[in-house]
């Protein structure tokens, strides 16, 4: 009796709709549905139908484009700029972040300025870079670096502070040499924060980069979407926006998730460290008064 009622439940259509996977798959369907409704409701000359945008994207993927570089060249160039700029950010940010984490004086010296750069819109750097460096790769690369640096600093500093004090004390009292202490103590506890910094700094750097490409470049993904905007091709702007989304998801899922999985195989809970998105207040470690 019990088995007879249990079996058909799995085929129940209501249960199927309620499954999480279907919910996730339903989202794009709903978006396209609403989009189509708006398209027919608006009857605008500019607003494109989903089919028109899809057609544009398909042509771009097949290398048939009206622009001067195709979608692969465009995103490859942006990717190279992003990596170069972010490499600079990681090096500079790690050095300053380590110094700030290890010394209170250095921390006091830089703190307010790091906080200010963190809050500065990338748009400002982008417009400024366009005027100073003209159109080229230098401006976008430097803007990427400048937007990424404070994120790396703040997270690396937090990682140094997060290093367990007792372990340091113990290592000191057992006379462990400094380089071994760095290798076995500082680095492992720093690593999760470092990866969090890289991941979020990367996405911040990317946002800065596309803006810089609009104002300080004549190539690259940001410039290209502005190009289609200037040409008043709404379908192309929306199509390119989808390429942006695909690109970001690609970086997240296939690059960072892989690196994460590899780097934290030995320590599964460490990959989930919370990223620091703003500079914490300068904390003076007060000696307790009895």
């Amino acid at each position: 009796m019990a088995t007879a009622t249990a079996v058909p439940r799995r085929r129940n259509p209501v249960m199927l709709i309620r499954s999480p996977l279907v919910a996730r798959a339903l989202f794009p369907v709903v978006v396209v549905g609403v989009w189509t409704l708006i398209f027919y409701g608006l009857e605008s000359q500019i607003f494109p139908s989903p089919a028109r945008v899809l057609d544009f994207m398909w042509n771009e993927v097949r290398l048939e484009t009206l622009a001067r570089s195709n979608v692969y060249q465009t995103f490859l160039l942006s990717l190279i700029r992003l990596f170069t700029g972010f490499a600079i950010a990681v090096v500079v940010g790690t050095v300053i972040g380590l110094a700030m984490g290890l010394s209170k004086s250095v921390d006091a010296f830089f703190h307010d300025w790091v906080m200010a750069t963190l809050a500065m819109p990338a748009l400002v750097w982008a417009l400024f870079a366009g005027l100073v460096f003209g159109f080229g790769s230098l401006g976008p690369i430097l803007v990427t670096a400048v937007t990424g640096i404070p994120y790396v600093i703040v997270n690396v500093r937090e990682g140094v502070r997060n290093t367990p004090r007792e372990l340091f004390d113990m290592a000191t009292s057992f006379g462990v040499p400094r380089n071994r202490m760095t290798r076995h103590l500082l680095l492992p506890s720093l690593l999760p924060f470092f990866f969090a910094a890289v991941r979020y700094g990367f996405s911040i750097g990317w946002k800065g980069l596309v803006l810089a490409e609009v104002f300080a470049s004549d190539r690259g993904a940001g410039w290209m979407i502005k190009y289609w905007y200037d040409a008043h091709r709404a379908y192309a702007v929306i199509g390119y926006a989808f390429f942006f989304v695909v690109f970001a998801l690609f970086l997240e899922k296939f690059v960072f998730d892989r690196i994460y999985a590899r780097a934290f195989r030995w320590r599964p809970q460490a990959g989930t460290v919370e990223v620091v998105e703003e500079a914490a207040e300068p904390s003076v470690q007060q000696p307790t008064i009895p």
Partner: protein
Amino acid sequence: MATTLEEQHLRAPSAEEQRLRAQQRRETQRRWFWRIAGYVTVLGVWELVSGWVLAESLLPGPTRIVRTFPEIVNSGRFFLSFGATLTRIGIGFGLAFIGGAVVGMLAQSRWFSNFFRDAVTIGLTSPGLIWALMGLVIWGFKPQGWIFAIFLATFAIVTVNVAEGIRALPKDLLDMAKAFGTPTLRRQREIVIPHLAPYLFTALRFGFSNGWKITVLTEVFSSNKGIGFEMRVSSQLFQLDVFFTWVLSFFVFALILEKLILQKAERRFFRWREDVSVA
């Protein structure tokens, strides 16, 4: 017992205590010394680079900006621009905050949290530029364009923070409420929303700090007033002193609003709750 406590309080500080106090004072002094040294160094380098490394017309120094500030205040467009930008932030981010919070609250249900998952990921990772240009190319200079852009660029930040609060919901209280047959709406009003209040505040702060940036960006492309518009005009006219003065005055304003007013309000608001750690 009470007398010993009082005695401890009244008797003169021991040598150890004095030593610790002095150490603490030195620590604070040293911190302030380095902090001021930081200000002097950065401002000094900036002042020197302007005029020596880069032309002063290209990178105006801090003194130049301080001198330009009264000019833009007296130009008559100062309050107009601030007002225009703040109106845009208020409308655009206001709607995004409501929308983001609703989506975050819906995440209590597994179904909805899966339904919106990709939307949130896209909202967090995509540059605001694409929404700004998309809104602009579809709606032109109409308000729908910039509302669309500000909404899509900021709602996900609110959603993520609210969803964070949802994950930390007091399950036992909710279970009890359900067991006693409390209606869903009342459960929301009396358990979920009070619990979420601090998270909503954090969402407001993070959202605002992103919201004003995207707002200024939409003004660069599609406005005839506001901070973004002034930035565009002055950079096109190559008046970088005016450009930096506009940027920095709004930047300082936004920082004061975010760090001093909102953060202080948050602390004040939740003083009575010990379990709330304000991020």
